[in-house]
Symmetry: C2
Subunit: 255 residues, 2 copies
């Protein structure tokens, strides 16, 4: 928590130092943005953030609705500020693979080329910042820190993708499910949610399509983990990580 005495709205978050005072810049949505610390824009403040704000459009998406589809012209890039977004690819016969779940602060649509390579859909209500791609790219010349930040985020995403490749290529169903829970727990921690209980905002079908399994296998595996006492299931979308050592061991196949 950094606080600089600027007169900012109540919320979670507030504008960084920069030009507060009398005739400052209206940091509008950013001032109240819950994802501010996590998002790519956290390297900006004051005038620089103002510049970014000028090309930003806020948007919302409702449960299950697409933000864009695979193959659509890639005109915009997005930043998730609230909710969870599911990114997926489909084979012609309908088999689906979810390549990631995006949480507040995550970036979306930074693909090369002129069409999106995947579909993005909101899981439950979500809010996003939208930017015209070319405008954001142009802004990089003015705000080099922003570009560096995005390169760093791309590198992180690449590392996450490689972890997922290892999971899909070589882990068992049990290891996949545990790795998934650990990932959700880690992301929850990053967002400041402490405690050993994780929330599953997505359906079993989504989990299955993310882990390269079927709904049935996911369900059976979760049930088994609970029977083995390494997790507890207060409800179907809440998981208590009960035995952290055991989970750690399972994740990497030491069992």
């Amino acid at each position: 928590m950094s606080s600089t005495g600027a007169k900012v709205p109540s919320a979670d978050i507030f504008a960084p130092g920069g030009h507060a005072s009398g005739q400052g810049i209206n940091l509008g949505p950013c001032a109240a943005c819950a994802a501010r610390q996590l998002a790519f824009c956290n390297v900006l403040d004051g005038d620089d953030l103002g510049r970014l704000l000028q090309i930003l459009t806020e948007s919302t998406a409702t449960s299950g609705h697409a933000i864009f589809y695979e193959g659509d012209e890639a005109e915009h890039v997005y930043n998730v500020t609230e909710g969870v977004v599911r990114v997926s690819k489909m084979l012609p016969d309908g088999r689906r693979q979810i390549t990631g779940f995006l949480f507040p602060g995550d970036f979306l649509g930074l693909s090369h080329g002129d069409a999106y390579a995947y579909t993005a859909e909101a899981i439950g209500p979500a809010r996003l910042c939208r930017f015209k791609r070319d405008k954001l790219l142009n802004l990089f010349d003015e705000l080099p820190t922003l570009e560096k930040r995005l390169l760093g985020m791309a590198a992180d995403e690449l590392a996450a993708a490689q972890d997922q490749i290892l999971l899909l290529g070589r882990k068992t169903a049990r290891e996949r499910v545990v790795s998934f829970f650990q990932l959700l727990a880690k992301q929850a921690r990053k967002r400041g949610e402490m405690g050993g209980t994780i929330h599953l905002p997505m359906s079993r079908a989504d989990i299955a399509d993310y882990l390269g399994l079927t709904i049935e296998t996911v369900s059976r595996t979760i049930t088994k983990l609970a029977k083995d006492g390494v997790i507890e299931l207060p409800s179907s979308n809440k998981v208590v990580l009960a035995d952290l050592d055991a989970l750690e061991a399972i994740e990497m196949g030491e069992e």
Copy 2:
């Protein structure tokens, strides 16, 4: 072998070019670099390329030898100029997943954080350009086009990783093998190698660990494809893509 008349030692590695006398810049290894058009440095020329050269060290790697290991301090980044590099991750019990094969022009080691998240090994003799990470990152301030180029390459890599995630999560063994052949063919085309015959520089074990299969399944699947007449096998590491329509259909599961 790159030779530009500069007096460089024979060995493994040699000092960066620097400004060699006369008038004009010694573009040393770059002038003779076979991967120049494909690599990230292709956006530079003249003085700018000279700047990059100052922080570059050429190195070679021999068959099977590691360029770096997962967990090593991530001091350098690399650019493959000749040969093929295999990037892999391992689970504690020895299961291996190859996350990618890198060809001339491909970039390597751009991970965030201070340790490499994967192992990189040469398949057969290879040559690489090596840069100290911090020096290259600093150079971005002087050469913004270079940074943009790298961001674009990272975006491409991310798209490729997502294709691989779809493959591993949802495709059958037959579809995986065909997708792999198509990928190799596409990359060969990018490097200017035309014709329907592709070369497999990697072993069946490497292919298996890339496709999330076993050696036996890879072998059986390739044999079956040949029996079905969609490919031909002049030798165990050469594949003729005989029936392109059929291959296209198999790749996406339309069969």
